[in-house]
């Protein structure tokens, strides 16, 4: 869930268009005075290119290659064709883990998007306070590990203040992270707590692009805030919302840290999210080939979801004239 890993692939078309638009002008103004800076460019690009080839392109290709091998780190990889994939399709724990991950993503993204939208609109329509924006962002400064441990404590069944309040109100204590029906929603909400502020700020930035006159005009016509939200804010925010949604969904599918410090995949595999299962296969059982195959599966799922989302939300187009 880093900015790097959650950066939207949807920037691709945006960036592509940008490049295409500016290029002709660039060439014309440059042509007279400067015929290329090949040598200098080579120096400037070299470190980044090295990093790209060695730590991004090569591992991607190697990850795909390893998924067709049996590999335990100690002996060289041994080509086994589609064995890992056959095994994956027949592995009930894999399917269960995929199901758990999807459940997590649906709750996490559903709650987070609605909450972030609400916060962003409040920050725009109610107050423009930079202090409030700073406060909303603070949980994002914590590591997932920190957020996980803090909420593990707050929600502790016996001693946690959360359960103290619940029992003080006359309800039964809830074993949030120890119960198989509660665990996934709880982890999903912990991560909402950490990420919602950052998401809200991204949406807030999108809201800033909506001309204020539109709200002024609507107000003169007697429109309510509720109506303005549905008729002005939502339609005009759509492209930004779509991009944010795509990048948060990708981040959400990669959940690992919170599970690793709270439930360790339990109780009884109830929170065995895909990334946790992959980690266990690689570093617990040294099945790097099988782990790689599951990573490829995740990659394919993510690409498909991104493509569908991109199409459905028309993320590349704007309605703002």
């Amino acid at each position: 869930m880093t900015i790097a890993s959650s950066s939207p692939p949807s920037r691709l078309p945006l960036g592509g268009a940008e490049g295409a638009r500016t290029k002709p002008r660039t060439d014309r103004s440059r042509a007279g005075e400067n015929r290329g800076d090949g040598r200098l460019a080579a120096v400037f690009i070299a470190p980044a290119l090295l990093g790209f080839l060695v730590f991004l392109l090569w591992p991607t290709l190697r990850g795909i290659y390893l998924s067709f091998t049996r590999y335990n780190l100690l002996t060289p990889p041994e080509w086994v064709g589609l064995d890992n994939y056959v095994r994956m399709v027949n592995d009930p724990i894999f399917w269960d883990s995929l199901k758990v991950t999807v459940e997590y993503v649906l709750i996490n993204i559903g709650v987070q998007t609605v909450a972030a939208l609400a916060i962003a609109v409040l920050l725009q329509r109610l107050t423009q306070s930079a202090l409030l924006r700073g406060i909303v962002l603070t949980p994002y400064l914590m590591a997932n590990v920190v957020a996980g441990i803090v909420w593990l404590w707050i929600l502790d069944t016996q001693l946690g203040i959360g359960n103290e309040i619940i029992s003080g109100l006359g309800f039964d204590r809830i074993p949030f992270l120890a119960d198989d029906t509660w665990a996934i929603p709880t982890i999903a909400l912990i991560n909402v707590w950490r990420h919602v502020g950052y998401t809200a700020l991204l949406l807030f930035a999108g809201l800033q692009a909506i001309p204020n006159d539109m709200y002024e005009a609507a107000k003169v016509d007697g429109a309510s805030e509720w109506r303005m939200f549905w008729r002005i804010t939502m339609p005009l925010l759509r492209p930004v919302l779509a991009v944010v949604l795509i990048m948060t969904v990708i981040g959400s599918f990669q959940v690992f840290d919170t599970v690793a410090v709270t439930t360790l995949g339990g109780p009884a595999n109830a929170t065995n999210v895909l990334q946790y299962y992959i980690y266990g296969a690689a570093f617990g059982r040294f099945q790097f080939g099988y782990a790689s195959a599951m990573s490829v599966a995740l990659l394919v799922v993510l690409s498909a979801i991104t493509f569908v989302q991109y199409r459905l939300t028309r993320a590349g187009q704007t309605d703002l004239g």
Partner: protein, 308 residues
């Protein structure tokens, strides 16, 4: 960017000086609730860290620290003897958060400084230098955005192991030290928007391209570089999965990994919540301070990072 926020404030607040409606009061109530949910856990960390474990068990709902002590912090920093630690409900295992703190600082600094500098160089070459294959190469970098970082972790671990860099700080830093497609893309966008006249004026003065990059472009990009830098630092500091794979011993252990280990060392009597919260605070505080210093410039330019 900071000015942008100021402008926005003056233009939007203007017409809302009426009797507060029911809806507005409700909206403020919701905002207040959000602030509470956001900030209360931080208070609870502090309150727990300053309490003793025995008192915590006796008074779980007390809003103030119970049986005020610095024992939790001493335990987290490894200042207590094993016997003392066990007596106070700790695990007694040696934890040297000073060491981990320094490791985290080294790793995050190395990643941030190198990544931003190299990415800025590449971004400048993509935005303002003319060379053959530029657009094709940029397309390739952009395609890198499509690969979730997590996919490269396993193969990168294999590579780091083959390089003999497992359990070193360099091994943790290396994969993100040279670039991320996002950083290159983000800075290129900025450089492309710098008016060409600025660069041409410097060229007429006889400055070379290298000089222009260091003396004109980089200083102009100070706000985006700062924003990207702080976000990169926070991301590197908070990363858990990759350091977990690469580091095995104290020599390369960073705070997040140490925290998870601390959490896993459950003493006989139950969790050492006091020590755990103290450790959590030590791990989280530096980022709060860092953010506090630059908050004014960053909060308003996150827009820039996210979407534009």
């Amino acid at each position: 960017m900071a000015d942008l926020a100021a402008v926005a404030t003056t233009t939007t607040v203007r017409p809302t000086r009426r009797r507060p409606s029911f809806g507005r009061i409700m909206a403020w109530a919701v905002m207040a609730a959000i602030v509470l949910i956001t900030l209360l856990p931080f208070y609870w960390i502090l309150r727990t860290a300053l309490s003793t474990n025995t008192a915590l068990a006796a008074h779980p709902g007390d809003p103030l620290p119970v049986d005020l002590t610095a024992g939790g912090f001493e335990r987290a920093l490894g200042l207590q003897s094993t016997k003392e630690a066990i007596a106070q409900g700790g695990a007694g295992g040696g934890l040297k958060f000073w060491r981990y703190l320094i490791n985290s600082v080294i790793v995050s600094t190395l990643i941030t400084v190198c990544q931003i500098f190299f990415s800025a160089m590449a971004a400048y070459a993509f935005a303002r230098l003319r060379w053959r294959g530029r657009d094709k190469m940029f397309g390739l970098f952009l395609a890198g955005l499509m690969v979730p970082a997590i996919f490269t972790l396993l193969p990168n671990f294999v590579l780091i192991k083959q390089l003999g860099l497992v359990d070193t700080l360099l091994g943790i830093s290396l994969p993100t030290m040279f670039m991320t497609p996002f950083a290159v893309f983000f800075l290129r966008q900025f450089f492309m928007n710098v008016p060409r006249e600025v660069e041409e004026a410097a060229l007429l003065d006889g400055a070379g391209k290298i000089r222009i990059f260091f003396r004109v472009m980089l200083p102009m990009a100070s706000t985006p570089v700062l924003t990207l830098g702080v976000l990169t630092y926070i991301t590197a500091w908070n990363d858990y999965f990759w350091p977990l794979m690469v580091s095995y011993s104290d020599s390369s252990r960073v705070l997040t990994v140490a925290l998870a280990i601390f959490r896993a060392q459950t003493p006989q009597t139950g969790y050492d919540w006091s020590g755990l919260m103290a450790a959590t605070l030590i791990a989280a505080l530096p980022m709060v301070v860092l953010f506090g210093i630059f908050a004014r410039r960053i909060v308003s330019s996150i827009s820039f990072t996210g979407i534009k």
